[in-house]
C-alpha cells in the first residue's frame, strides 16, 4: 500500500466506525458529538480530493451551524427523562436486513467503476495555479447562476418557515 492509500484507509475505517457509533448512541448529545468528529474526518477526505473550499464549507456550515442547531434543540426539549426507553422500532431487524442487502448490492455493482476518458478542463495543475475558490466561483457564477439564486430562495423559505413553525401562538 502506498502512503495515500494508507491515509484513505484510516479515514474510511474511522468514518464508518464513527457513523455506526453515532447511529447507535442512546443519548442524543453523545450522537451529536460523534457526528462532529465524523464531519471533521469527512472534511479531511475533501482536502484529500483537492476541494479545499468545500472542506472549509463543511467545517463552517455542518460542524459550526447545523450541529449547534441540533444541540440547541436537544437542550431545549430536555430529553433526559426518556433515556431509559428502547432505542429501536419493533421491526429493526428488517431495517438492518435492508441496509445489509443494499451494501452487498452496491459492492457488487460499484467494485469495478472506472472513469471514462473525455475529462473536464479542471485538472489538478489548473486548480493549483488558479486556486480552489476561484475555479469554484467561476463555474458557480456563470454556468450555475440560476440554481445559485434558487438556492438563496430556498434559504429564505427556510428562515421564514422555521420562524412560523416554531413560534408560539398568542391568543
Amino acid at each position: 500500500m502506498t502512503i495515500p492509500q494508507l491515509f484513505f484507509a484510516y479515514f474510511a475505517i474511522s468514518t464508518v466506525i464513527m457513523s455506526i457509533l453515532m447511529i447507535t448512541r442512546k443519548n442524543p448529545v453523545h450522537a451529536v458529538l460523534w457526528m462532529l468528529v465524523l464531519f471533521v474526518h469527512i472534511a479531511a477526505l475533501y482536502l484529500f480530493l483537492n476541494a479545499e473550499f468545500l472542506a472549509a464549507i463543511q467545517m463552517i456550515i455542518y460542524a459550526g451551524a447545523v450541529l449547534v442547531l441540533f444541540l440547541f434543540v436537544i437542550m431545549l426539549l430536555n430529553l433526559r427523562k426518556e433515556e431509559g426507553e428502547r432505542k429501536y422500532n419493533t421491526f429493526w431487524p428488517v431495517c438492518a436486513g435492508i441496509s445489509v442487502i443494499m451494501v452487498v448490492f452496491m459492492l457488487v455493482i460499484l467494485r469495478k467503476i472506472e472513469v471514462i476518458p473525455p475529462l473536464g478542463e479542471y485538472s489538478i495543475e489548473k486548480i493549483h495555479t488558479e486556486g480552489s475558490m476561484m475555479s469554484v466561483g467561476k463555474v458557480l457564477y456563470t454556468k450555475y447562476l440560476l440554481p445559485f439564486e434558487i438556492a438563496s430562495f430556498i434559504l429564505l423559505v427556510a428562515i421564514i418557515g422555521a420562524v412560523i413553525l416554531a413560534k408560539r401562538r398568542v391568543e
Binding site: A12, I23, A51, M106, L107, E121, K138, A162
Partner: protein, 100 residues
C-alpha cells in the same frame, strides 16, 4: 493513487448506515441526524467524481446539497419543536393521532 471505486464504496456504506438509522431509530432527532449522514455520504461520492472526472460540476452540486441540508435541518427541527409542544414526545411511533 486511490481508485475511484474505493470512494464510491465508502460512500455507499455510510449511506446504508444512515438508512438503517433513519428506518430503525424511534427518536425524531436521531432520524434527522441520519438524514444528514446520508446527505454527507452523497457529498463524498460527488466530490470524488468531480476530482476524478476533472470537472467542477460535482463540487457545485455539493454546494446545493449543503444548502438544502441546512434548510431541511432548520425546518425539521422547527417541526420537532411544534410537535413537542402539542404532544410531549419525540418518538415517532407514539405520534399516532392520524391513526383512526
Amino acid at each position: 493513487m486511490v481508485p475511484l471505486s474505493w470512494y464510491v464504496i465508502l460512500s455507499s456504506v455510510i449511506f446504508s448506515i444512515g438508512l438503517f438509522g433513519f428506518l430503525a431509530r424511534r427518536s425524531l432527532i436521531m432520524m434527522f441526524m441520519s438524514i444528514e449522514l446520508m446527505l454527507n455520504s452523497v457529498n463524498i461520492s460527488l466530490v470524488a467524481f468531480s476530482h476524478y472526472l476533472q470537472s467542477m460540476t460535482g463540487q457545485i452540486l455539493v454546494f446545493f446539497v449543503i444548502t438544502v441540508a441546512a434548510a431541511e435541518a432548520a425546518i425539521g427541527l422547527a417541526i420537532l419543536i411544534a410537535l413537542y409542544r402539542n404532544k410531549p414526545t419525540v418518538k415517532v411511533d407514539e405520534v399516532n393521532i392520524l391513526k383512526g
